[in-house]
Amino acid sequence: MMGLLDQSSGITLADPDSMTDTPSQDEIVHLARQAGLDLPPAYLQELVEAYRHVRAMVGRIPTGRPHGDEPAHIFVPEKFLPAKE
């Protein structure tokens, strides 16, 4: 997928056309059950509505990355060394 370049940051943005594949309500119910959520109808409607917002947000996040691009949340082994005296 080709992305857009944000000139200020040099970050490649997601292609907006990729954001339109919002799952149907039935698909969201299925996904929720897979995630262990068996919600009453009122809360299910909250999930369907909220997920549309989250989907749009996630869809704007760039995906075309080099294989070795580390995320921010990394494992730091020094944190597991014994405390200094």
């Binding site: 040099g10 996630v58 990355r65 405390a83």
Partner: protein
């Protein structure tokens, strides 16, 4: 001297050390105001009056015995109700934690007590420091002391309202996307989101691990610096805690900002999220104060607010669901509707999406540091003056960008201070952000501005 309740920490500490003010007298002044006025603001959810009286008596005895005094000796303070306090209920405003009484103090509470502080009680927050304002949680939302029909913002709502109202000179809050700075701005006080990892979060109920910060709120920047001296420092029990030297924050308050270079992200303020004319005028006036003190101001270009928001909120919704998933699966009815809406979709964020958001966070944090290397500080309003206290659509979390979130993503220190008052009497705010671990320069600038202006002489009338 007017009521001791309006003394700053710096002023009260000098008087206590000189035996001109008793800690007992001071704590009674605050307890009197809280018991007679807090029904107007709902800023406290738990008052620890007897404990406070007992601690104040002990503090007074130590003064009279000539014992060494801690940095906060006899100074009353309160804590956002997400800080664990041994033997004192800690609820996060949630029905899920109605009966939660921790057995151990949070790291910050240990530090505040060891410095001689006197705990007054626990402050209202948004549920789990995230969803709100809410009327369907354990306690009612706090109100803004400048106008009770207006919001104190969130999530450290009660903390900021209590300090502005003269119910306490000090409090600790938390900031994941602006929850210290937003309430400080709305209530016209000073609030610092320190550099990420500088203050331990051990014993603070989490919101989003990778963006959570603990930090102080007070009437003045000088008092914030005093509080930072007490709570900053390495804690091996917080996995993110930095092991770095802690400077003398109070000594850094020289009043001198001559030669500092201030960057202004004009694209954010003029194009992406334009300021109202009144807020722009207040911001321009604040920059003029810094120019008058010898600083220079120039534009800077940062990545878009939308990118910062997307990265932070995607990470947050996944981490929030990780924290609350068990309860959402088994007893979702105990959540307030606002919080439930804001975290439930985290169940459907895929691991790949979370990791891509973390990669974006790395890029955005690097971009922030690249710009910060070219200036000493970045300044912008914290937010527009406070809006009405009324239910807001929970979807607004996803649709509104924030001037504060970029500094959570970058981890940079960011201070909010009062920069005047709107025609309706509500405070304007100035946000001052700095380089990583250079909290001292941020505090120096905030203190210099406060001392060059007269805004600290105005208090809300209840």
């Amino acid at each position: 001297m007017s009521s001791p309740a309006y003394l700053t920490i710096a002023e009260a500490s000098k008087l206590i050390a000189a035996r001109k003010l008793s800690p007992v007298e001071l704590v009674e002044a605050y307890l009197g105001r809280i018991t007679s006025l807090d029904h107007l603001l709902d800023s406290f959810v738990t008052l620890t009056a007897e404990r406070a009286r007992s601690e104040a008596k002990a503090a007074e005895a130590a003064v009279m015995a000539g014992k060494p005094l801690g940095r906060l000796h006899g100074i009353p303070y309160c804590l956002k109700d997400i800080y664990d306090t041994a033997g004192i209920r800690t609820t996060a405003m949630s029905k899920l934690l109605t009966d939660n009484v921790p057995t151990r103090d949070s790291h910050c509470q240990e530090k505040m007590a060891a410095a001689g502080g006197v705990l007054l009680g626990k402050n209202a927050t948004w549920e789990f420091a995230h969803g709100g304002p809410s009327w369907d949680v354990l306690f009612p939302p706090a109100r803004n002391p400048w106008n009770r029909d207006h919001s104190p913002a969130g999530s450290s709502s009660g903390s900021a309202a209590a300090v502005a109202a003269g119910f306490a000179p000090a409090t600790l809050g938390s900031d994941t996307g602006g929850s210290i700075r937003g309430p400080a701005a709305a209530c016209g006080i000073a609030g610092l989101k320190p550099t990420y990892s500088l203050v331990s979060r051990r014993g603070v109920i989490p919101n989003c691990f990778t963006h959570d910060h603990a930090g102080p709120l007070a009437w003045t920047t000088e008092d914030v610096a005093i509080l930072m001296q007490v709570i900053a420092g390495h804690d091996p029990e917080d996995p993110a805690s930095a092991d770095v030297p802690i400077p003398d924050y109070t000594a850094a308050l020289t009043g001198d900002v001559k030669g500092l270079v201030i960057g202004v992200p004009v694209d954010w303020l003029e194009t992406e999220s334009p300021l109202t004319p009144a807020t722009k005028a207040a911001f321009d006036a604040a920059l003029d104060v810094f120019r008058g003190l010898g600083a220079t101001v120039r534009p800077v270009v940062l990545p878009s607010l939308q990118q910062y928001d997307d990265a932070k909120k995607t990470i947050a919704v996944a981490e929030l669901f990780t924290i609350h998933g068990k309860d959402l699966r088994t007893r979702p009815e105990l959540f307030g509707a606002s919080l439930r809406y804001r975290i439930i979709a985290g169940s459907l964020v895929r691991a790949e999406e979370y990791i891509q958001a973390q990669r974006l966070r790395t890029d955005l944090a690097r971009a922030m540091q690249k710009v910060m290397a070219t200036v000493d500080l970045v300044m912008l309003p914290t937010s527009e003056p406070a809006g009405k206290l009324e239910p807001v659509p929970p979807s607004s979390l996803f649709s509104k960008v924030s001037f504060m979130t970029p500094f959570n993503v970058g981890g940079n220190p960011a201070l909010s201070i009062c920069s005047g008052f709107a025609a309706n009497g509500l405070p304007f705010s100035l946000q001052i952000a700095g380089r990583l671990f250079d909290d001292a320069t941020v505090l120096r600038a905030g203190d210099a501005y406060e001392k060059a202006t007269s805004w600290r002489s105005r208090r809300p009338l209840l």
